[in-house]
Amino acid sequence: MPNKVSDAFWSTIEQNQITPIPRWHFVLKQVTLRIVVATLAIIVSLAGAVALYISLNHDFTISHDYTITLLHDYPLLISMLMSMPWSWLVLIMLFFLLVFTVVSRSKKGYSYGIIRISTGLLLATIPLTTVFYASGIGRSTHWYLSENYSDYYHLVNGNEQDWSHPDKGRLGGRVIRYDEKERILILKSFANEFWQIDVKEAKIDSDTLLLPGKYVKVKGVQTTKEGFLAHSIHSRSEVYIAEHPELIKNR
């Protein structure tokens, strides 16, 4: 019997010219799998940093005046729920599921179990999310996407959306030009519309720069379809000032 089996085996191997698959093939597969998992973990962390930035950078968390105007529009709970970055949270969940599927289908993935894989994922992504958030990568990603992709702008409900209500006295966007003589500000709003803002009577925060390319938030009254009378002007983010303190001194 033993000879029969091995003889039949070798005859099959020789007849069909079967050869073992080379080792590099499996090594490559494993390396690719690890790269995919690492990439997905980075994407999850980046998404987490953006979600964190959107959640923490609503002005009702930093401005008492703003909180009052916002609460005038919606009750607190609804405001908080609306301000949650739901689309990013859904994206994070989807990527988590994807990472989980890839890991559980890896060579030893079956032995880890749901809890171990989830814990591992959290341990890997939380520090990376913190780094991305603290270094401003989360903020930059959100700003870049808001500026360049109108679909993204409509998908999330961040601070930009809160400041896109000129009819309610809140307008935000990027400074295109500032005429110091006439005290007129040309602004491209977060919703990609151009506005002419009269800043003659406006109170401008000391840390706010009216320089082309900088982002500002304006409180005031809408006067015409594209005209706005500013009461006060604030910078979009304190982080920017922290990064460029010399600009405040020069002002």
Binding site: P2, V5, P20, I21
Partner: protein
């Protein structure tokens, strides 16, 4: 055409002696290799085979009986067992370089066998040898009876029927635990499920067997 001249000092008996000598040397070398592979561990044998594929014969010798028994208790038709065994070995040969020693080789080859058997039973469900009973199942039933005291009151056939009526996933863990005497970590490696799942499935399978036997 002139035939080559035979040297004067050529003696046919010498040629015969040389042939016999080399044949003995070749045979003794083959035996030495065979003996060497017999006392090598699985891991060492695989390492050797990964370098020298002809050593796969030793793997076949080591696992053919074990796997044939596994095929038999897994419910495959006896007639197709040889063909199935061949397919398992061919697969093991093709994927030999995938084996990386992180799990025991026996678990790895059982995993391939399990997949092949599963595939065969899925494609040809009619070929499941459900009427077969007797020898391959006896050791398994004996171990089940020793572990589950409630089963002691039932006959061999009744217990075999109780195991056979189990759903595939329960039956797999029962066969591996009681017929193949595999531990939970080994079953986890073979079936590619977590150890916790193995333990849960085993517990459910044992309960299902008890419940089935009580209703007889």
């Amino acid at each position: 055409m002139v035939a080559p001249a035979i040297p004067r000092n050529f003696i046919p008996s010498e040629l015969f002696a040389i042939t016999v000598h080399f044949s003995k040397l070749w045979a003794s070398n083959k035996i030495a290799i065979k003996k060497q592979s017999e006392w090598l561990s699985d891991q060492e044998l695989v390492l050797l085979t990964q370098k020298e594929t002809k050593q796969f014969t030793a793997i076949i010798h080591r696992y053919e009986k074990i796997l044939l028994l596994y095929i038999a208790v897994s419910g495959c038709e006896r007639k197709s067992a040889g063909e199935l065994l061949q397919d398992i070995f061919v697969n093991a040969y093709v994927y030999l370089n995938e084996y990386d020693h992180s799990i025991p080789f026996s678990s790895w080859i059982y995993r391939l066998a399990h997949k092949e058997i599963d595939e065969r039973l899925k494609n040809l469900p009619a070929k499941r040898d459900d009427n077969e009973s007797g020898s391959p199942y006896e050791p398994m039933v004996e171990r089940i009876t020793n572990t589950l005291p409630d089963c002691q009151h039932y006959t061999l056939t009744q217990i075999i029927t109780a195991v056979k009526q189990l759903e595939g996933k329960y039956r797999d863990v029962m066969v591996l635990k009681y017929a193949e005497q595999k531990s939970s970590p080994e079953i986890s490696d073979i079936l590619e499920i977590s150890q916790h799942t193995v333990e849960t499935l085993t517990l459910h399978a044992e309960n299902k067997i008890n419940a089935y036997l009580e209703n007889i």
